[in-house]
């Protein structure tokens, strides 16, 4: 039975020969595919067909992958459950009746259900790692600048990266090998410092001598079942030769607030272009351009998107800019410093990916603030532009639990290696 992982099913064949020949890949529906509609889970773009491929889609095709569909997601990436999609919710294949996480819930569900070998998602504040954890698959959020965002419909453009999902760490790393690397069409991409071998090669399970830091702040308030599963994971690493120690990230208590101010501010600007003039939903009510823009946006966007655009507009407004946006930028710098100091002491950081197991479908819809707080462990990574991987770490009451390993900038090999030891 379908879990409604896809908004649009398709079959885009890549070249014959390549590292991904014969592999099927599901692509999140905020990543542009020439000739195949790219909806962002929104009524606004329900009929929008891009004339161009995102850089990562070009790279998938060149690597021989077959793209089998565009996956369901929270509208414009704004959500933790995939329930804000205009195209209905997605069921969790690993925990039926529960949400798959979000916002890349369709991509994680497609891989968990075996409807695709691999998938691409995007992660602005945890949107790859949360659904990976909830669906019991592997997801990687790369260092900001490692993967081109050209063709990724922006939500929080200073925070987000495209990244892979797979059943195994090695497969996820192999997909990262295909999509990573500088792109002249994205001025924020950078050449990663040289490392030994491919990312997939790093999945050798060798953690002997590795030092793992555990930020105590990221265990606070977590569900006991999640903590138990996390502690078992830590023991597994220790028995493989890793050393563990507690570290402090005092700033992360401010990370959720800072993250939402920055992401919403950027969203208020990034989503301004949806006015019905050139593409997307266009209200047929008359009136002058200002009325037409207003009606188009009132009709095309869902509640969560409107909430974030309004809050972001407010946070950037004269008189509030310094109180919110500027303060959030200061907090972002502080979070980055805390991570830098932690990586002076340890090789990787470990935490539960999500403080809670997956919610039941429909359970969390009424309380946005509670949902925002569930991102406490994932958003600091985006604020600091760092790479992180979420890997399955057992279950609690039959529901999947994920752990997250965070590395220093361009430390993808290190987190892949750590995760592959589980």
């Amino acid at each position: 039975m379908s879990v409604n992982a896809f908004i649009t099913e398709t079959e885009l064949e890549g070249t014959d020969e390549g590292p991904l020949s014969g592999r099927t890949v599901a692509v999140k529906d905020n990543i542009s595919t020439a000739g195949v509609r790219t909806t962002c889970g929104s009524k606004m773009l329900a009929e929008y067909v891009p004339p161009y491929d995102a850089t990562v889609v070009e790279r998938l095709k060149a690597a021989g992958a077959t793209i089998v569909g565009k996956t369901n997601m929270d509208e414009f990436g704004m959500g933790t459950t995939t329930e804000t999609s205009h195209f209905g919710s997605t069921d969790n294949p690993a925990a039926p009746g529960h949400v798959p996480g979000g916002s890349s819930g369709g991509s994680a569900a497609a891989v968990a259900a075996g409807e695709a070998d691999l998938a691409l998602g995007s992660d602005t504040g945890g949107s790859i790692r949360c659904p990976a954890a909830f669906c019991g698959v592997v997801g990687i959020k790369p260092t900001y600048g490692l993967v081109s965002r050209y063709g990724l419909v922006a939500y929080g453009n200073s925070l987000e990266q495209i990244g892979p999902f797979a059943q195994t760490v090695e497969d996820a790393a192999a997909l990262l090998d295909v999509i990573a690397g500088p792109d002249e069409r994205d001025a924020t991409t950078r050449e990663a410092p040289d490392g030994e071998g491919t990312y997939a090669d790093a999945a050798d399970g060798d953690v002997d001598g590795l030092s793992v830091g555990i930020p105590t702040e990221l265990l606070e308030g977590a569900d006991q079942g999640v903590i138990d599963a996390f502690e078992e994971t830590v023991e597994t690493l220790e028995s493989a030769g890793a050393t563990t120690r507690e570290v402090c990230l005092p700033s992360v208590g401010h990370a959720v607030s800072a993250y939402y101010v920055i992401a919403m501010s950027e969203a208020s600007s990034n989503l301004a272009r949806f006015d019905g003039v050139r593409y997307g939903h266009s209200s047929d009510a008359g009136g002058n351009w200002n009325d037409a823009f207003g009606r188009t946006r009132a009709e095309g966007f869902g509640d969560e998107v409107k909430r974030r655009i309004l809050l972001g507009t407010y946070a950037l407004s004269a008189g509030y800019h310094d109180k919110y946006y500027k303060k959030a930028q200061d907090a972002r710098a502080w979070v980055t410093r805390d991570f830098d100091e932690a990586f002076d002491e340890v090789d990787v950081l470990a935490s539960p990916t999500m403080p809670v197991p997956p919610f039941e479908l429909g359970e969390s819809l009424d309380d946005p603030l509670q949902l925002y707080l569930a991102d406490a462990n994932t958003v600091p990574v985006n604020l600091a532009n760092l790479p992180a991987i979420s890997v399955p770490a057992g279950e609690t009451n039959g529901l999947p639990v994920g752990v997250q390993f965070i590395g220093p900038a361009f430390g993808e090999r290190r987190i892949v290696r750590t995760a592959s030891a589980l």
Partner: protein, 495 residues
Amino acid sequence: MTAQTVQRGDLVTVIGLEVHVQLETETKIFCGCPTAQTDEPNTNVCPVCLGLPGALPVLNETAVEAAVKIGKAIDASIPEETRFHRKNYYYPDLPKNFQITQYDEPICQDGELEIAVEGERRTITIERAHLEEDPGSLQHVGGGGGIDTAEYTLVNYNRAGVPLMEIVTAPDFRTAAEARAFLAELEEVLEYLGVFDAGRDGSLRVDANLSIVDGEEVDDEGRIGTEALEAANRTEVKNISSHKGAEKALAYEETRQRNAIQRGRVVEQETRHWDESRGITVSMRSKEAEKDYRYFREADLPPLRVSHWKDEIPIPELPTARRERFREEYALGEEAASKLTSTKQVADFYEDVAREFDPDLAATWVADELLGELNYRDLEITDVAGRLDAVHRLIELVDGDEITAKNAREVVLRGMLDDGDDPDEIVEREGLGKTGADEVEQAVLEAIEENPEAVADHEAGEAGAINFLVGQVMAKTGGSADPGDVNGLLREELE
């Protein structure tokens, strides 16, 4: 206006300018689309300049080079690090509903430009100059055709993403004429730098702020305090597209405000639209609250570090310096020097001929003859760039005394410009080559022998007689002799 002439009760006009110039680059500022003008709407477009979802800007280095050249020309500082910001507002010509521009870290800061108005030199402070993208353009169709009366409006994104430089002056102008002089000088400088084409439609757009303050606010150095400036209600005049238009619009606006003040009325703080065809400014929206553009950093473009480009990118000698040098080096008068440096092409051509021939002769031929004939035909020197070698040859013929100046001007130059012929061809075809000295002398002797009555009249002191003889010689030589020479030869023979 100097400080001594201003007193309490006098009204002083204060003008500041925000000048938008399109930079001459092959491609747009954030994508590879051509900037060339085309009649076909929405053809020079791509995902980036249309603001399609997912498209990202990539900065065009040529636009940055142009900005650095401008920075050097106006003696501005170029900071170690400069950035782009988003200016957020909704408008149908703006594909992303935000404009990528520069905010508190512009590429050029604290520059200046010297102007001359009625022989008096003034230095105008340029507070900042920054890079940004041009929006698309709107065409209002049907109804009254105006922005509020049209049936519908079409959007053309060909212009969206053309690089713009916004140049903001201090409120340093006291007259409309000064503002015009500044704009003319600025255009000249930008054309010298090769970053601007004044002939391009819409390449210069000016917003002007104008207010009137009491003379007592002006200090001994002609400056006006910030408080007084802020206290005075000012109008922003938009839709000015030339330096001539700026002078007219500002003169109108100045009179309007002065009349209002003299009649005891308050000048509204508002934006006004310059209606070129009616020659008036009209109110666009009054009592508008300060717009909130919610500026914030454009994260898609990394910070720009180009201060060292200032040392690496050369700029040509600028008009003011070149004018001074021409006056000294070629002993030219102010007017000739000014004409000969009006564009870089004219100045380059002048130097080309002045180096080879007599600088005075070259000045006459370039500033008066060539520019005069071009002006009469409504042409620019750039329109005849391919004919300048021929003009050079023509000056050579005159300099070498091979044809008369009159023939060179009236027959050869006009023929060259109108029919595209070569000077030597024309001289040959029209038989304009100056007649050899022997031939002229022979003709002089013949004329004396054949006209004894005229010779007698001359000897009797009749002034017109010699002219008659000159005419006879000219007739014999087919007009190719120099009348002055002939006159001299006749007098020698008759003594």
